[in-house]
């Protein structure tokens, strides 16, 4: 499960560009992950230049 620390986000969309399943939507001032579609590959976590996204271990 990917966690979004949205107050850090610049809405640049680099996470969208590397997502293999197109489950992230970034608009002018919003970011959303479609969790059921997400495959937890963590590429978005890796590419984010300012550490907005983080892997959240599931209980």
């Amino acid at each position: 499960m990917i966690n979004i620390r949205e107050n850090r986000c610049d809405y640049c969309g680099v996470c969208v560009s590397v997502c293999p399943v197109d489950c992230i939507e970034v608009r002018e001032y919003s970011i959303e992950i479609d969790h059921p579609v997400c495959i937890d590959c963590d590429l978005c976590v890796e590419i984010c230049p300012i550490e907005v996204l983080e892997t959240h271990a599931q209980e």
Partner: protein
């Protein structure tokens, strides 16, 4: 007022989108350009460096666009050996993208293109494998627009291309993770850009210091997605700032990604064309995409206008666009990609030794050609690659 039908819809209002809309409008074809944000040109996500001759191909350069004229480059190796090289013929600029982008959209509008902001495209419409419009949220309402051709100028996210079934995904190693500060209270030599290279500074990329007037600069970093897992681009940049510019005031922090990939093989399909970052029209060696994206928009716009006039918006017809791009750019993009790959393999020690060698040439003799001649004695293949990088700055 936004209509429900145009011949061409351009998604995205950056330089590539504006050039495309402008050319389509000049061809006497109905076109609208949809920008998701409130403003054209803002927020800026760019180092803002551009070559004068590249820009002059398309437009007369306005003074208000220019924040700084660039006449030389300082390259700094991993052990901080720095080499100054004056540009022989080419002049560069650091732009005010906010003003520049805005003006390009005005040119498109003045030629007859309709421009709408706060227009977020959320899907494409298609019929029998032919893209024929877009779905968007505009001022709080969902709308559909029919179009014969959709031009995706939607930047690195390039979802328009993906929805239309084009292969837009970039491999992690070719995606640069980038962050930039616009800073004040820094002492920087005027008219000189600085680039820091090496694994310690920016693995698979570089740190740039681009002056923008007195005590003001864009300072940013791009690192390859291959290396961004364990340490973020911002961490590298913050270490650099602490070391080099501890007194800088950071006025803006902006992020982005730069697809430094091979050119997209097929940036078109039935009823759809991609331009700019969406089509990876970026020099993969420097990460510069303003001129390449403008060229993509310019050619795509012309081909789109012709396609409408000829009533053929099939993939086959639109393939004229990548064909003309190849004719214009030649093998440059492929060559730059190869150089990028080979220079990425240089170790810090190798980069330092090259810098030392280049330093032994007196500054006034240090044109790119003389540097090249001297350096070739040392490490032929390696030096050639690096000098090609220098030449592309």
């Amino acid at each position: 007022m936004l209509k429900n039908k145009y011949d061409v819809v351009v998604v995205g209002g950056g330089p590539a989108g504006s050039m495309a809309a402008w050319e389509v409008a000049k061809g006497g074809v109905s076109v609208c350009m949809l920008e998701k944000d409130r403003d054209i040109g803002y927020p800026v996500r760019c180092g803002e460096a551009v070559g004068e001759s590249g820009l002059r191909q398309f437009v007369e350069i306005e003074d208000s666009w220019i924040a700084e004229k660039i006449t030389s480059v300082k390259l700094v190796s991993p052990n901080l050996t720095s080499v100054d090289i004056d540009f022989a013929a080419e002049t560069g600029y650091i732009l005010n993208r906010r003003i520049f982008d805005y003006d390009l959209s005005r040119y498109a509008a003045n030629a007859g293109a309709e421009v709408y902001t706060k227009a977020y495209v959320k899907n494409v419409l298609a019929n029998n494998g032919q893209t024929n419009g877009v779905v968007l949220d505009y001022l709080g309402e969902e709308k559909q627009i029919q179009a014969k051709i959709v031009i995706g100028a939607d930047g690195l996210t390039s979802r328009v291309g993906r929805w239309a079934g084009l292969k837009t995904l970039v491999r992690m190693k070719d995606m640069e993770s980038a962050v930039q500060y616009s800073v004040s209270n820094v002492d920087i030599e005027p008219n000189k850009m600085i680039m820091y290279i090496g694994m310690n500074h920016a693995p698979g990329g570089y740190i740039w210091v681009f002056p923008k007037g007195k005590k003001f600069a864009n300072i940013g970093i791009g690192i390859s997605g291959k290396y961004s897992k364990h340490k973020s681009a911002q961490k590298y940049l913050d270490e650099f700032m602490d070391r080099e510019y501890p007194d800088a005031a950071i006025l803006t922090t902006m992020c982005g990604g730069v697809p430094c990939a091979k050119p997209m093989e097929k940036p078109v399909a039935n009823g759809i064309m991609l331009v700019g970052d969406a089509a990876h029209q970026i020099n993969p060696m420097t990460g510069g995409g303003i001129v390449a994206g403008m060229k993509g928009g310019w050619i795509a716009g012309q081909v789109a206008a012709e396609a409408i006039q000829n009533d053929d918006y099939s993939e086959k017809g639109l393939l004229e666009y990548p064909k003309r791009m190849r004719k214009d750019f030649g093998k440059n993009h492929e060559r730059f990609y190869k150089i990028k790959e080979s220079t990425e393999k240089l170790t810090n020690e190798e980069l330092d030794s090259i810098a030392e060698k280049v330093l032994s040439i007196p500054h006034d003799k240090r044109t790119l050609t003389s540097v090249f001649k001297a350096a070739v004695f040392k490490k032929p293949t390696l030096i050639i690659d690096v000098l090609k990088v220098f030449a592309g700055v």
